[in-house]
Structures are given as structure tokens and as C-alpha cells.
Amino acid sequence: MQYEVVIGLEIHVELMTASKLFCGCSTTFGGEPNSNCCPVCLGLPGSLPVFNRRAVELAVTAALALNSEVQLRSRFDRKNYFYPDLPKAYQISQYDQPLGRGGYLEVELTGGKRRVNLERVHLEEEAGKLVHAGDSIIGAGHSMADYNRAGIPLLEIVTAPELHSGQEARTFLEDLRSLLLYSGASDCKMEEGSLRCDANISLRPEGSSKLGTRAEVKNMNSFRSVELALDYEVRRQEQVLSEGGTVVQETCHWDEAKKQTITLRGKEGSSDYRYFPEPDLLPLVLEKTFVENLAHQLPELPATRRERLQEQYGLEKEEALLLTSNRELGDFFEAAAKQYPGYRHLANWIQGDLLYQLRESGKRLNEIEPGLLVDLLLRLDEGRINRPVAKELLAEMVQSGIDPKEAIKERGLEQITGRDNLLPVIEEVIANNPEAVDNYRQGKKKALAFLVGRVMAATEGRADPAELNRLLQEKI
């Protein structure tokens, strides 16, 4: 039997505020355990929460970017459960009156662009972090709690069950990440845990409209592991069903090392969270103008920008896709394109050498002045420097922040062109390498490359390669 895969995602992203959701403690990642804690985020008796305005703004901004219907009145509830990383034994979250209802994201999936609907977007607080003695959680003698993370504002985004493969889930997540980065709501660092994803996955016979029994997959720590874990789970469930078995509702962990999912618990272990309205917080009531202002401040979002870049600069879809993968990259391209008309040439240099050098040097894009790249490309176009020199200068520009214009002048890197300048060098190389000249004349084409190399070495790489080739052949 053919099965249809049905996947719904539950995504948590940490919002980029300076202080926590309900107290003034810093949200800085890392640092001494339990050093960013106060009575509120430690849940000391008598402490009370107070909303962080910025967290509300970022949550509303993200909800707007996700086309979710922002509720002018929403409520916070307590989700009660016991766990050592949860200082109050309840998480302040939103239950039946979330900040954002519905929403969608247009995603480029197999079979073209598709709208993936969201059920809700809501604000809640982060729990602390448990570190386990030994290699793995299970079997560890004991664990250790660090509450620095406890109370960081968290946005929960729940999709409808509308994704149909690990690949689709991954693409959706990548697009969601880029959207949230654009909106400035989160830095979405999966490796630091500021973006996390759990998935509900089930199979149903092709054509059936009834959802099958689902498994919840957790602990997927990269986009790649989301895809791998879900594909693994599809195969596992397919096998169960094809052997005539039934899928049991369960929660499982993705084991990155073993590349398989491990069952944590069955349905009977599922919790009764005893949600009720948080008495310590009055309802969150937003002014209409507050939401409208945030809507106005919303930057152009990646999908729109992608289309505009293709249209305005004549870029290929793939190029536009890459340049919109984050907001800074697109901004850099557009800033440079204002001064440089060779858009595709520019795009190629950015996605090729520039990104390569950034990766190599660990530098950030915002440390690079777009005008410098433009200067470099203009000099290359004018033939004043050659391509290898341009590449070398770009590397230095990224690594040590040199001004290529100045470097060309100071180090005399301008290209050597013209018969009068090149011929004396060429003749000297011919005279000093009779054997290679003979080889070439006997038909060994490789010898020419050797001679070109000698001339380049003598000119410190500055000879105009095309002219050099022509003159060398003419002479021998």
C-alpha cells in the first residue's frame, strides 16, 4: 500500500531581547552557570513576573511576518508540570487565548510554491538547562541544572499537519528561520538552542483523510537531523504498517550518533498540565496602533525580496535565493548594486569569493564595506588589475580590512599590458628557456603554459594573461 506522510511541526525560537521575559536578568548565552538568575527566574517564593515590552513587540512582529492574526487581547496561563529545569513547576505560557491565531508561510516545495498553514503563534517562557554527568542522559548518575536560560522569552509556532516529507519539513524550517532572522525576532541558532523543532508525524493510506496515529519526535538539533529523523521515522512507521502492525502513539528522541529514533514513552505517560489563567499577570492588551506601528516597521520579507531581486537586477532564481538567505547578505548586495551596474557579476563575486573568504576568516559581513568590493570590481573590469590579483586583494580585504584601491597603488599591482611593456620580459624568458621553446615547437602544447608561468613569475603575476599568451605565441 502507498502511504501519505503527514507532518506537523512545533517550533520554539528564543526572542532577541536583552533581558528575560519576566525579569531583568540578562539573556546572554553561555557564561557561568546560574550567574544570570534572580528571585523571579529562580522561582523563589514570593517572586512575581512582569512583562518585557520588547518581548511582546518581537512576538507581535514575528506573528505579523507569519501572517498570523494578532489578538489585541490575549491571556497567559500556567502549564503545570514537575521537572528539575522548571523552577516554579509551571511554565507561564498561553493556552486558549494565544497572541497569534492562524497564519501561514509560502514555501517553495516539491511541486512548486505552497502555502503551509499555522495553527497558532504564542509567547511563553524558556526553562533552564540540564547538564548530565556522563555521556548520555539515560544512565547518568545525576544531572546538574543551570537556570541562566530560564525565563528567556520563547515564541512557539505550531504548523498545521501539512508537510509531507523530511525534505519538506527541512525546507519549511529553513524558510521560517530566514523569515524570523529578517524580522529581527530571533537569531535562530539551532546549535545554541535558540531555534528548536519537534515534529508530529503519522502515515495514512494514500487518499484517506483520516490522520493516522502519530509519533512525536524530539531532540533534532540541526536542519539536517530534522530531515534524517523524519525520514527515518517514515521508514519505521511504513515497516510497522506493512507488517500489519499498528503505530503506537509515543514520544521519541532522535539519536544523532546512531541515526535512529528511540522511544521515550508511550501515551499513558502523557501529562495532565492543569492549565489555568496565570493570576500573577493581567491579560495582555495591545493598542491597535501598537500593532499597526509594528506592521509598518516590518522589513521586506525574504519571499518578496527574492522576487524583486530577480526582477530588478535580472538575477537567476538560485542567485536571488542565496542572496535572500539572510537579510544582511541582501542588504550588502543592494548597497553594492547602487554603485555597480554588473549585477550578476557582483552576485557571483558575493556568493563565490566573498562568502568563501568570510567563512575562512570567521569575519562577519557587516564588517565589510560594500564600496570596497565595488572599487575592486571596477578596477578588474577596467583591466587595471587581473583576476588572480583581484581574488588575492579580496581575501586581504576581508581578512585584514585593507583598502584595495590603496593597495593597488602602493604595491604597484596594476596589470602590465602593451607590447612595449611585455615584450622585453617575454624575450628574456625565451632566451633563458630554450628547451621549453624547442618542446613547444615540436608540438608539446604544455610547454606554452610553462613559459606563461615563467613570465607571470617575472612580473609578480601582473601580466595581462590574454595579451601575454598572444605575444608569446607570436614570438615562438
Binding site: 528571585p39 529562580l42 522561582g43 523563589l44 517564593p45 514570593g46 517572586s47 512575581l48 513576573p49 512582569v50 512583562f51 500556567r78 503545570n80 514537575f82 521537572y83 528539575p84 523552577p87 516554579k88 513547576a89 509551571y90 541544572a145 495532565d272 492543569r274 492549565y275 489555568f276 493570576p279 500573577d280 499577570l281 493581567l282
Partner: protein, 497 residues
């Protein structure tokens, strides 16, 4: 007359005129504590050294001519569920027996800023759950009017401290009557302010939507002095009310002309002592005699209110008390996995009444019961608020009893939770409605025990309550409101129960 026999206002005046020093005042109260508290057991923790230090600092400040708060140098006792930095705050629970807060409750900070020496932390029913202070994990507190009887609760320690001259003022907390009922049983004045008037920051939560810090004092003017200090918006408590705080000591001249007073008629007075009802009637007559327009107001939902309260408060409590899991603070039992460790910690750390309420609350919030219990109770709460709104269209003030009976015997109700819950029946609907409510001494029972009146007003009308309480004080005459405590002199020791 001993210094400890004076009101806070008198002490304030004597300190400001330098008739006495704060050290002398504090010494007098400390001696009184030494004399009677080993018997009455109002304090869980006494802090004589820091109290004298503060007093000394205030005295030197006064010598230097510093501008001091009117209450500077006047000592105070604090209920042991209000967090005090570096001072053990136990909530009368084993689970917090050794807990030392690294911060001050906003109300405690205000008291310290004003330069009030803190005499100690007073006893209460564990986590403020109870009406007799018998639920303290450490010891019960005795009523100074009759050592065989309870002082009421949960702020029993604070009420006894003030009634027996161990402190001129005390802070308490009132969730469903926990200031008013013990004030009534001990013959002192107790105010539950409007919900949100005093910051709850640092008050260890029992039922957050009902908890409110308030005052215990000898009279209404003293109450106003302390209320001035602790009332007001607190940026650390989002449920605290915005807006300016009036000077509660101003405009307290007794005036009852034209005051519209509704005397509460309960749907059922089963369990009410007839003398209690009589005292309320007499008070109403007195008001009428002095120009008030007195009518009858029926609060038909009172009994339902009690039921709603005993669902809402335990529900919130079950959540508020989840944090006592032995990981970050407090009692911690051994266990080789988290479930065992949590359950043992809580099973061994909480007393029977706390367990009962945590169980009821957990049940009322759990899947399948939420609508029938918790949600329904919250709807009933709305009906009760409406009933109050209606009553306040007709009346400025509601008058009733602060407790259905005078102080009952230690051990009398402890085995019967429902009977114990009924002792809050006069207080609970005010709490549910969030309105201010004050217990003021109203007379004596034929047994010699004090009886309290309860005055209730619209939100933020604390001044009207204080003013009316002053009226009753003025007509009280020369009746002594001090318990004799002869039983202590007779060598009552510790074998009275």
C-alpha cells in the same frame, strides 16, 4: 504605664519629641516578648539583636537631626510568609524551615526603609492555610484572652503579638480572612486592603488572585500609619494598582451622618453565635443613632462563595506550591530518581492541611474536572462581584461580623476541615470580590472573649473603613481592650492545653 502598652501613634509622638528613645521602646517590647511569648508562641523567629541595632541607628539619626519617617523607631512584627532578606522565612512549614530569602518583600523593604525595628517573624498556619494557627508545623499560638483557645488564623501570630503587647504593629496577609478573623478573635484591628493596593512581591504565594498583605494594629489610626507605608504601586508586582496613595491618617474624624450602611443578612446563620449577631445589631443601631442611613443587605451567595473559595484558593495553591520540590531550596528528601525525590520531599515536607488543599486543587484543575469545579467557581466569583456591585449601588459600607463565633478551643475543629473552613464564612466573599475589608473590635462575648465587627467598602475606599472604625473606637468608651494574661502570672507554664 509600660512603653509596650502604647499605641504606635503614641510611640511615634514620644519618639519624635525625644521623650523616649527607640532603644528603650524596643527593649520594652523585647522584655514583654520574653515575659509572655514562651507561653503564647506568637513568634517563630525573634530578632532582638537586629531590632536593637536598627533602634540604635534611628536614635543616632534623630540625634543628628535627620529627617525621619513618623514610624522610624517604632517596632513591628512580620508574618513569616513575608520574605525578609537574610532572615529565615518559613511559612510555618517544614519544607521552608531553613529557607533564607536573598531579597526583601516590597512591604518588608518599606518597613526597613522607614527605620522600623523588626522584632521577629510571626507564626501562622502553614503557608497561610488555616483559620486557627494550629496548622503551623512548629507549634500552635495561643489566644491571650484564653490560653485554651486559638487566636484564629492564619495571621494568628501577628494578631497575638499586637493583642498581647509584644508589638505595636504587625504585618499579616489575608487570603480568605486570614487577617480579619484572627484580629476579631484577639480583639485588635485588622485590615485587608483592596486587592492590589499593597504589593504582593515577596509575599509567599498561597492563592495569588486572593492574597493581600495587610495590617494588624491596636486601632484604626495605627492601621493608617502602617498602611501609608506599605500601600502603592510596585513595578515588581503587575497586579498592584497604579495611582497615587492618599494619606490614610488624614480625614479620619468620625463622621457617620448620611452614611449609607448595609447590614449584611446572611442566607443562613447556622453556626453563628447569637451574641455575634447581637453585637452587629448593636453596632448598626449605634450608627443609625448617629445619623447613618442603615438598611439591610442580603448577600445570598455567601455559602456558594465559601464553596467557590475552597476550589479557587486550593487550585492556585496547588500550582504555587509546586516549586517546593527540594531542588533549589528548602527541605529535600533523598530519592534515586526525580519522581521519587519530588514526591518524598513534598510528602514529608508538607503538613496535612497543605496536602489536603494541594490535592483538592490538583483535582479541581485536572482534565475532566476543570469545567465543573475550577471554571464554575470562577463564574460564581463573577456572580459574587456582581452582588457586591449591586450592594454598593445602595450602600457606602457593609457591616457584618468578622467571625461567626468568638475564639474556639484549640483542637476543637482541627479534625474537621469543613467546620474549620466555615469559620471564614464572614470573610471570604470580600476576598473573592477584591474589596477592602476591616475587622474592628465590637464588644465582648459573655464569656469575656472579644468579638469583632467587619466593615467592607468599595475598592480603594480604605479611608471610609478607617473613619468608621474610628467612630466605633470613640463609642467604645473606656473598656480595656487588653487581655489580662493573669494565667501567665499564675504560672500557666506550658501545660495549659
Amino acid at each position: 504605664m509600660q512603653l509596650y502598652e502604647h499605641t504606635a501613634a503614641e510611640l511615634s509622638r514620644m519618639l519624635q519629641s525625644r521623650e523616649v528613645s527607640s532603644v528603650e521602646v524596643v527593649r520594652s517590647f523585647l522584655e514583654r516578648i520574653d515575659q509572655v511569648d514562651s507561653y503564647l508562641k506568637a513568634f517563630i523567629t525573634q530578632t532582638p539583636v537586629t531590632a536593637l541595632d536598627t533602634a540604635g541607628e534611628i536614635d543616632s539619626g534623630r540625634m543628628r537631626g535627620e529627617n525621619l519617617h513618623p514610624l522610624a523607631g517604632v517596632p513591628v512584627a512580620i508574618k513569616d510568609n513575608i520574605s525578609t532578606m537574610d532572615l529565615r522565612t518559613t511559612c510555618a512549614s517544614r519544607i521552608l524551615e531553613n529557607y533564607i530569602p536573598p531579597f526583601d518583600a516590597t512591604a518588608a523593604a518599606a518597613v526597613k526603609r522607614a527605620g522600623m525595628p523588626i522584632l521577629g517573624k510571626t507564626n501562622l498556619d502553614e503557608f497561610a492555610m488555616g483559620s486557627s494557627t494550629e496548622n503551623s508545623a512548629f507549634f500552635p499560638t495561643r489566644n491571650p484572652w484564653d490560653p485554651q483557645r486559638v487566636p484564629g488564623g492564619s495571621s494568628g501570630g501577628s494578631a497575638v503579638a499586637v493583642a498581647a503587647g509584644m508589638a505595636p504593629l504587625a504585618l499579616g496577609s489575608d487570603t480568605g480572612g486570614s487577617i480579619r478573623q484572627p484580629a476579631s478573635l484577639c480583639g485588635v484591628t485588622g485590615l485587608r486592603p483592596t486587592y492590589g493596593r499593597v504589593s504582593r512581591y515577596g509575599l509567599v504565594a498561597f492563592a495569588s488572585s486572593l492574597d493581600q498583605i495587610g495590617t494588624v494594629s491596636l486601632n484604626a489610626f495605627d492601621c493608617a500609619l502602617l498602611l501609608n507605608l506599605v500601600a502603592g504601586h510596585d513595578p515588581l508586582d503587575s497586579t498592584s494598582l497604579p495611582g497615587a496613595v492618599p494619606d490614610y491618617t488624614a480625614g479620619l474624624e468620625p463622621g457617620t451622618k448620611g452614611l449609607r450602611v448595609g447590614v449584611i443578612s446572611y442566607s443562613s446563620t447556622e453556626g453563628f453565635d447569637p451574641e455575634v449577631t447581637e453585637t452587629v445589631q448593636k453596632a448598626a443601631a449605634l450608627l443609625e443613632e448617629h445619623g447613618a442611613e442603615v438598611g439591610e443587605v442580603s448577600l445570598s451567595l455567601t455559602d456558594y462563595g465559601l464553596s467557590a473559595y475552597y476550589l479557587i484558593a486550593p487550585s492556585e495553591a496547588s500550582s504555587n506550591l509546586g516549586r517546593y520540590d527540594g531542588i533549589r531550596y528548602g527541605y529535600s528528601a533523598a530519592g534515586d530518581n526525580i519522581e521519587t525525590m519530588f514526591s518524598r520531599t513534598r510528602g514529608e515536607g508538607f503538613g496535612p492541611e497543605v496536602k489536603r488543599r494541594v490535592m483538592i486543587g490538583t483535582y479541581a484543575l485536572s482534565a475532566g474536572y476543570y469545567d465543573a469545579y475550577y471554571l464554575k467557581a470562577m463564574q460564581v466569583r463573577t456572580l459574587i462581584r456582581r452582588e457586591y456591585e449591586k450592594a454598593f449601588k445602595k450602600f457606602d459600607l457593609l457591616l457584618g461580623a468578622a467571625s461567626p463565633t468568638p475564639a474556639f478551643k484549640i483542637g476543637e475543629k482541627i479534625g474537621d476541615p469543613l467546620q474549620m473552613y466555615l469559620s471564614d464564612v464572614c470573610n471570604i466573599t470580600d476576598s473573592l470580590a477584591g474589596v477592602p475589608s476591616l475587622a474592628v473590635p465590637g464588644g465582648f462575648h459573655s464569656s469575656g472573649l472579644p468579638l469583632g465587627l467587619q466593615l467592607t467598602a468599595r475598592p480603594l475606599q480604605e479611608q471610609l473603613l478607617l473613619k468608621t472604625a474610628r467612630f466605633f473606637e470613640a463609642y467604645r468608651g473606656q473598656v480595656s481592650l487588653r487581655p489580662g494574661l493573669e494565667f501567665i502570672e499564675k504560672g500557666g507554664g506550658s501545660s495549659a492545653v
